[in-house]
């Protein structure tokens, strides 16, 4: 945790921020000692953990027990053809602590499975930890096609149910693949 503490600038005029940052650093230190292999970094005062996908649930569970009781957002980035990217998708979990105001970003990088029928990455759902993750994970599934294992109701959230693609993937064409042409056309004679 030397990297996190050394790169932080002292903010003596705002003790509340310092307190929340200290709380975040303590939680990060506890988690990184319990989970070796988890990378942590700080960018302009924002703390970030990069977690292997197979341990993401247990790590998020221990982070929740360590005080990060609020899941602010679950989001995703598609790094297809991104310069220097090692993985296809990067999941983003934004956590916060309502007691200390500490904030933390947890990144989970996943790839499309090489074999498999639908080429959708699978990540364990965090709905058992935070009920609010239900719709957030449905949105990520809808737009990026990342399957959340253990989700109680993994349906599409924003696109219509009969939609077949995941449109925020970088290999999906902006103008679509003609999905909207499936609708019946009402003419003056038939309506």
């Amino acid at each position: 945790m030397s990297e996190a503490t050394s790169s932080r600038e002292p903010s003596s005029h705002d003790p509340a921020i310092t307190g929340s940052e200290r709380a975040a650093d303590e939680a990060i230190a506890a988690v990184t000692t319990a989970f070796p292999g988890v990378e942590s970094s700080v960018f302009r005062g924002q703390r970030r953990l990069v977690v292997p996908v197979e341990r993401s649930f247990t790590l998020l569970e221990s982070l929740k027990e360590a005080g990060f009781d609020l899941l602010v957002d679950v989001s995703c980035v598609d790094y297809l053809e991104y310069r220097g990217a090692k993985h296809r998708f990067g999941l983003v979990y934004l956590l916060a602590s309502t007691a200390t105001n500490a904030r933390l970003t947890v990144r989970v990088f996943v790839d499309e499975p090489v074999e498999g029928d639908d080429s959708c990455p699978v990540v364990r759902s965090v709905v058992p930890l935070w009920e609010g993750a239900n719709w957030l994970e449905r949105e990520v599934w809808d737009l990026f096609g990342i399957r959340f294992e253990g989700h109680p109701d993994l349906r599409r959230l924003v696109m219509p149910e009969e939609f077949a693609a995941h449109p925020l993937r970088k290999d999906y064409p902006l103008q679509g693949r003609g999905e909207r042409h499936n609708f019946p056309v009402l003419t003056r004679d038939r309506s």
Binding site: M159, P167, L174, G176, E179, P184, L186, T187, S191
Partner: protein, 208 residues
């Protein structure tokens, strides 16, 4: 509108003879009840059109109703996303005949700048449209012009049965006209001015 079918017969005072179709069209065109399908900034202009400054009541179309059963003019003002399309079609089907549709603005007519998978590229791909209003968004004057033009269309083409705009039949008749006429030959038999000019041209060219 008022036509005396038999010129020799004197009509009593205050009696006007007309066709029932035209009477019905005259009533309908002056009491359009719009269904505001306002989904974007065009809806703001639609509200301005109905408000006191532009005063759509001058054209008998000021009564906006939010139930399709009470409306006969659907004004689609704004972009329609693909997920909204079944709703648009259902509302159109719920409106009772005779009914008309104005596609207001670039987005409703063509998709506008939103050329993406999520936005319908022109509602006329999925429901019939009678008038298109250009603009992004159109000024209220443009919408009023569209309503005036629609009133003309109703007066010209409506029928008493309410099965307005026999589109397929009219297109067949139009195509028959186009296919029968030879665009390279000029038919001057019913145009005396053209006949005179043509003969003058023939005389001058023979004298030379």
């Amino acid at each position: 509108m008022a036509v005396n079918p038999s010129p020799g017969l004197e009509l009593p005072e205050n009696v006007v003879v007309s066709r029932l179709d035209e009477l019905a069209n005259w009533c309908r065109k002056n009491s359009l009840w719009p269904m505001p399908f306002a989904t974007a900034c065009c809806g703001i202009e639609l509200m301005a059109t109905g408000a006191s400054k532009h005063d759509l009541a001058r054209f008998g179309a000021e009564v906006f109703r939010f139930s399709p059963r009470q409306c006969d003019l659907m004004i689609v003002a704004g972009r329609v996303v693909m997920k909204m399309l079944p709703v648009l079609q259902r509302i159109w089907l719920q409106m009772s005949e005779p009914k008309w549709c104005i596609s207001m603005g670039a987005c409703a007519s063509t998709g506008g700048v939103f050329d993406t998978y999520a936005v319908v590229q022109g509602i006329d791909r999925f429901i019939p449209v009678d008038m298109y209003v250009p603009g992004c968004p159109p000024r209220p004057e443009q919408l009023i012009q569209a309503i005036i033009d629609l009133q003309d269309k109703i007066q010209r083409e409506g029928t008493i049965t309410g099965r307005e705009f026999d589109t397929a039949g009219r297109q067949l008749r139009k195509r028959a006209l186009v296919e029968s006429a030879d665009p390279l030959t000029i038919d001057a038999s019913r145009n005396p001015v053209l006949q005179r000019r043509l003969s003058e041209f023939a005389e001058s060219s023979s004298a030379r």
